[in-house]
Amino acid sequence: MQFIIATDVGSTTTKARFFHKKNGEWRFLVAGEAPTTVEAPYEDVTLGVQNAVREIEELTGHKLLAPEGGMIIPYDGEKGVDLYCTTSSAGGGLQMMVAGLIKSMTAESANRAALGAGAIVMDVIARDDGRQNYQKIQRIRSLRPDMILMAGGTDGGASQHVMEIAELIKAAEPKPRLGVAYKLPIVYAGNKTIRPQIEALMKEGFALDMVDNIRATLEQENTEPARRAVHELFMEHVMSHAPGYTKLMKWTDIDIMPTPAGEGMAIQLIANTFKQNVLGVGLGGATTNVYSIVDGRFVRSVSANLGMSYSVTNVMKEAGIDNIMRWLPFSLDKEEVASRLMNKMIRPTTIPQTLEDLIVEHSVAREALRLGLKHHRTIATRLKGVQVQRTISDMFEQAIVDSYVEMMNIDICAGTGGLLSHAPRRIQSMLILTDAWLTEGVTRMMQDSVFMMPHLGVLSTVYRDAAWNVFDKDCLLRLGTSIAASGQAKFGDHVMDLHIDMPNGDKLEETMNLGDLKLIPLAPDQEASVLVEPANLYDVGAGPGKELQTTVQGGVAGLLLDARGRPLYFPTDDQKRKELLVKWFKATGLYDVKALEALI
């Protein structure tokens, strides 16, 4: 094995990445890109794949494309590659409808399984979802999913109500999105004792597949069999109906994977390698995918209409324009901001030329990421329906927090997607992630250098070491480490003292008050020893007011000391808010100072 080519067939662009093993080590060589050709007049994705690969041929002089189509496999010492693999999200990706019995139990588990398989979940139907039967039926009839995943009941548990949901789906006669002539795939992952009845009801009109119960008992969630079935049906039914995919499937050595599934694999690779809790994001043009691996549990969420180009105005709609504008350090008319975002949405491939435009986009990105995490937390929840022992203190706090994704427990944040990967200064993506997610305690920050996480994710399923080597050396850019104190008091109050032993022997003493932000250069291959002494009300990971001794890793941005409070302190006075933002932007070298001052 010496050469590998991987592609990602995106909704607008097909991205090819070329990898090479040199001196026993796998490295990223070069990238090629071309418009995706899933739509008329082409209606054949392989044309876009060929164009993207041809760009690599031109850049390297290495012949890759076989005259009869596909890649030259294997590498013969002069031309060809040893492996070709691809991910795909063209044509809107995998769109699913999910159903279960109880919204917060089996339906939620089914939702997690579908999302984990890389799907966009169009709707979740449950007995207690607050809608009348006729409303559910109307909704199912208006959706055109690629596939349905249905759960419900524990093994030997509820059966009649599960059958009611099945009858409702059958009565609605959902139609598949691609083509009127094929049967809609449905995966049943519910109470196994009623499989014969389900089969009798569903075998006509659906392509039915039955797998192990997703919640055989309330205490356990087993999404893997459903996820696998979804993947197989995706290949068998959905992919084979998309233009050109039958051909593409023959070209690849391993199964085509939905892009988010590849991205998720890459984020899992980080967690597995560092053995730490990771929160990752793919901030795309149309969607925002958030991935968490906390104590070994992997959950993915997709916010189908939060993105930086096609969906940029939906971010404005959901976040509210005031929330976007709170990140602007200069005055701009509300209508002007709204018009600019609408114009970006209708011409999604344009890019900011002016600093003012860039800052507006960065403001939207913070809100898209914030909303993406908020959505993620509704999915990354503790299993409901399980008996939980409550302590006296829980009773005083009224409830146990639903989501287990708490920033204090996250060790690594990682981002990918055009805006983050192409940010002109690396500190921009680091601060955007910090502001949006409000990291707490000590958090390492990383990002995808040249958008190849999906490629490496699919590759990792067959050659984990090769994928990790490229990932580590060429893809996963270390931005640095953030130290943020959780808590809030009055502006200007003392938050924390830091004693930092720098790698060159220097000793830094930093006193941080509420509203302070500071960036200390610390190169990617360097470490520093830090003693943090938080004030009484603040926590940096060891508990309120308790000191923390730790070692932090550097990065292209450096060590970020954040005493802006959690939640973030924002003055209510508009002028003071702008001044504080400018202070933060200047303290971190976020933008060119002269150009920034010209805008204020």
């Binding site: 009649q160 105005t313 709609k317 002007e336 114009n343 011409r347 344009t350 030329q353």
Partner: protein, 389 residues
């Protein structure tokens, strides 16, 4: 920074691309072209015209029926019976039609002291009864779906059971964004030039069923008045975001439009805010004032780009060379589609190969453009569209 880069390019000897792709395809503004429209049913059905037939705007060319809405009736639960015992009390068989209010099942016990019955909540056909859940499904009457011709012309191809392709000779103009579906009417230009705002006082009762053309943006009051009078469509350069939101009653989140029921079809040709309609588009619409046209506001930016359109059938056949979508070369007419030169028109001056640093500090491929006033500016290649001539 922009000007410095330009100077370097103009005076320097760096490499230039001979031809380059424009990232954003230009919108079509054609005076004379062949337009083909595929008219397709959502399900298989019946197609009426034959190849070669002439059709008009509202002619129905295909028809089908989608199955009616189902109504779930919880018979066993209402009757207090076990699901498996219920069938013997059913008064209707599977497949039989039922009228609303008609008895579906009846049960009597204890010499008639206990009586239970259930009536059909809707009219339709009894489709099924489940002995597991005790639920019956009544299927409502089928819902007819019709597809009309939309444009007048000749049927050039028939797809059996699915639809037909209709062809006409026409002027064809694409907008950038629209709302509302397919309509037709006569074109009337209301503004004296492409820079004038289309306001309410320009709209008169005689404009009922017309397609009204403005120059710059259309105001909210103009839209409201147009709906009141019964105008078919408005085509303008731009619209304020707030006006559109107020008019539709909802903020547009994702650009998938065409289904709005707002009483009018709206097409904007340039973008949001104050936007002059391009001179070429305005002149073309002016030239066809009084002609009948088909208009569709449907827009979809993702997964199969669909732009709103104005089709003006006519017989004035002129050579409007169908230029193959070429890339940019020096001299190609260009419109800038983002700040700081949004809306400016010029021609390609040169295409530097090397990446250049923008004011935003991004390193990107750029194009140098000579604006109509003679000034040369540098913009990212991603921020221009080719004006198709």
């Amino acid at each position: 920074m922009v000007d410095q880069a330009t100077d370097k390019k103009v005076n320097g000897e760096e490499k230039e691309s001979e031809e380059a792709h424009a990232y954003t395809p230009g919108l079509k503004v054609k005076k004379s072209t062949i337009v083909q429209k595929m008219r397709r049913l959502p399900l298989f059905g019946e197609v009426y015209p034959k190849e070669g037939d002439k059709v008009n705007y509202s002619d129905v060319i295909a028809r089908t029926e989608i199955s009616g809405d189902p109504e779930i009736v919880k018979i066993s639960m209402v009757m207090g019976l076990e699901p498996e015992d219920t069938p013997k009390y059913m008064l209707k068989k599977i497949g039989e039609t039922v009228e609303k209010g008609e008895l579906l099942a009846f049960y009597k016990a204890l010499f008639g002291l206990i009586k239970k019955q259930i009536k059909a909540p809707v009219s339709g056909t009894l489709e099924s009864f489940s002995e597991v859940t005790g639920q019956a499904i009544i299927r409502g009457a089928p819902i007819p779906v019709e597809v009309d011709a939309y444009i007048p012309g000749t049927v050039i191809d028939v797809m059996p059971r699915e639809g037909a392709i209709i062809e006409t000779h026409a002027a064809f103009i694409q907008g950038i964004f629209g709302i509302g579906g397919e309509v037709h009417g006569d074109i009337q230009v209301l503004t004296s030039n492409n820079t004038e705002v289309l306001d309410a006082d320009m709209i008169k009762p005689e404009h009922k069923s017309k397609i009204l053309i403005g120059g710059n943006r259309v105001t909210l009051d103009a839209l409201k008045k147009a709906v009141q009078i019964g105008v078919s469509a408005i085509v303008s350069g731009g619209i304020r975001h707030e006006d559109l939101t107020t008019f539709t009653g909802e903020e547009i989140g994702v650009a998938i439009t065409g289904q709005e029921e707002v009483g009018i079809t709206l097409i904007i040709t340039e973008g949001f805010g104050n936007m002059n309609m391009s001179q070429r588009t305005f002149d073309l619409l002016k030239e066809f004032e009084g002609y009948s046209a088909s208009v569709n506001g449907s827009t979809q930016i993702r997964a199969g780009v669909l732009r709103p359109e104005i089709i003006i059938p006519h017989e004035l056949k002129e050579e409007d060379a169908e230029s193959l979508s070429q890339g940019m070369v020096p001299g190609t007419p260009i419109r800038i589609i983002r700040q700081p030169y949004f809306g400016a028109i010029g021609k390609v001056h040169s295409l530097p190969v090397e990446l250049q640093k923008l004011e935003s500090e991004s390193m990107v491929r750029v194009v140098n453009i000579e604006l109509n006033g003679g000034e040369v500016v540098t913009v990212p290649r991603a921020n221009v569209e080719i004006i198709e001539e």
